[in-house]
């Protein structure tokens, strides 16, 4: 019996030559980029800095109650993509974002949409802890106050306490709420920033290398916190630590030169990635 190449590829589950060509053309990511219950839905997102394209047609969902980690070498576009999710790139001159990014079905780049409340719904925690030069209390109370989320001082006090509780910081700071946030340790400052983000009731929390400036103990506390926060929020985290991605996330996305190369269950990505570039990166064969 004569079997054609395509038939054999079909029998063995391999990708046919035609499929490969089509995949290359459409820049399809290896793996399933959709989530069963998506909170954010990104489709064919391109990002340009002037004439330079930084992100090439990335499609990725962020599901409810899941942590998605984004990994890849420096300059691969993972932070750029993360910053698209709450329109942080709007503040960069010459930055242009095309494609579709929806939060609960609402297009976030809709011209009628105000980015300020969006950034409360999609909060962000940065690489370096950046508390305001104010008291611990004011760091957390500032957001709810400007967004008008509370009606009384008592309500605000309660919100500050619950946010610090959720960030695992309340016990450590409850007796010194009036002291400056900048006086806390690095790990505590990062948790204060997380409390500040939580205080405005976000749906999604974006984290851009949140532990890169922290020691292993503070990192472990933040990672434990991320796992607890997952019960109430969707989380997208950019990290250079592959062990951290493996520990905290349910799905992992690998970026390379602006392309989303592969996305999949974290266990699968770290044990049996399907793309050579992913495997080369996570096994230290890059470059």
């Amino acid at each position: 019996m004569n079997i054609t190449v395509d038939e054999m590829e079909k029998m063995t589950g391999a990708m046919s030559s035609a499929e490969l060509a089509s995949e290359r053309h459409s820049r399809t990511t290896v793996g399933d980029f959709t989530a069963a219950d998506p909170r954010m839905t990104c489709r064919n997102v391109d990002v340009w800095y002037g004439s330079k394209q930084a992100i090439n047609g990335v499609s990725l969902d962020i599901g409810k109650n899941e942590v998605v980690s984004m990994i890849g070498p420096s300059g691969c576009g993972k932070s750029t993509f993360l910053r698209c999710l709450n329109r942080m790139n709007d503040t960069i001159d010459g930055c242009r974002v095309t494609g579709s990014i929806q939060l609960d079905g609402q297009e976030i780049y809709d011209k009628s949409l105000d980015p300020v409340p969006l950034r409360a719904q999609v909060g962000m925690v940065f690489q370096k802890p950046n508390p305001f030069p104010k008291s611990i209390y004011e760091n957390v109370a500032y957001g709810p106050r400007i967004h008008g989320l509370t009606n009384s001082k008592a309500e605000l006090d309660e919100l500050v306490e619950s946010s610090l509780e959720k960030a695992g910081l309340w016990k450590e700071v409850k007796d010194r709420l009036d002291q400056p946030g900048t006086g806390l340790s690095g790990g505590q400052q990062q948790r204060l920033c997380i409390a500040r983000t939580i205080a405005v009731s976000p749906e999604v929390i974006l984290m851009d290398e949140p532990c890169s400036a922290l020691d292993p103990i503070a990192t472990a506390i933040i990672e434990e916190l991320i796992d607890e926060l997952r019960a109430n929020y969707s989380i997208a985290i950019v990290t250079h630590s592959m062990q951290q991605a493996a520990r905290v996330s349910q799905r992992t996305a690998y970026f390379h030169l602006g392309d989303l190369i592969e996305v999949g269950e974290t266990n699968q990505i770290f044990t049996n990635p399907q793309h050579r570039l992913t495997e080369d990166y996570i096994t230290g064969r890059f470059g």
Partner: protein, 252 residues
């Protein structure tokens, strides 16, 4: 734009790390196992020679050399721990380390089977008044079983050397021949009266036949691990015929 159509990695799966020391560590671990494998083949052949040709010196040599394989097994364990601690391997590296750890166990156990055969060879002599107690047909059957088991084991070690799926599949394809050779030896031993064997001698020889068959089984276990490393698929407990057909179709 990135060409995202690339297939899975090619070439030596254990090399190419940015940190070259990592390559060396994996090569060292694999080298220990390859050395263990070579020694096991030598041990098995010597043990069967002692059994069939009644050469006690070979049996004693097998017993003397057994600790060397055990020590190599300890070295392999130590390297596995070292690589895990230092490198936190992922993906293909993780599969290599896990698989080599299991392979080391299989190789060490195959070495134990060679020792078992050597012990039976010495025991057989104790119960034998006639040095030529084995018939020619029985000797031939045992030699054939030894040849098949050793050939499978040698090929399994070669498969480990290159994480070669084609070699691994060849071992699965040899399994029916192994069982056929084993059954032939057992059948002859079942006719102990005709072979002029005492029940005690028959038990000794059956133990040897079983040990040789187990060496072939260890080779197949090793082949499963080679496929796990190369393809990332756990093929244990899979139907062998379907597995061979599927992978041969893929060009392995």
């Amino acid at each position: 734009m990135t060409d995202i159509s690339s297939a899975k990695p090619t070439g030596d799966l254990a090399s190419g790390h940015t940190v070259r020391r990592y390559d060396q560590e994996l090569a060292k671990l694999r080298g220990i196992i390859l050395e263990m494998g070579e020694r096991v083949v030598e041990q098995t052949q010597a043990a069967v020679f002692a059994l069939v040709d009644r050469e006690d010196s070979h049996a004693f040599r097998v017993l003397d050399r057994e600790p060397q394989i055990d020590f190599l097994s300890l070295d392999a364990d130590e390297e596995v721990f070292r690589v895990i601690v230092r490198r936190q391997p992922t993906a293909v590296d993780l599969r290599i380390v896990l698989a080599l750890s299991k392979i080391a166990d299989d190789v060490e156990r195959a070495g134990d089977k060679a020792v078992r055969i050597a012990r039976q060879a010495l025991e057989l002599k104790e119960f034998s008044t006639d040095s030529g107690c084995l018939s020619d047909s029985l000797k031939e059957a045992l030699r054939q079983l030894d040849e098949k088991a050793c050939c499978m084991f040698e090929r399994s070690i070669q498969a480990v050397a290159g994480f070669d799926v084609a070699f691994a599949l060849g071992i699965f394809e040899d399994e029916p021949d192994l069982y056929q050779a084993s059954n032939k030896a057992r059948k002859l031993l079942g006719e102990q009266d005709r072979e002029g064997l005492t029940p005690r001698q028959t038990v000794c020889l059956l133990t040897c036949a079983h040990a040789l068959e187990r060496i072939g089984n260890h080779a197949a276990n090793i082949a499963e691990q080679v496929i796990y490393v190369a393809l990332g698929q756990d093929v244990r407990y899979r139907n062998r015929e379907i597995l061979i057909e599927t992978l041969r179709h893929r060009g392995y």
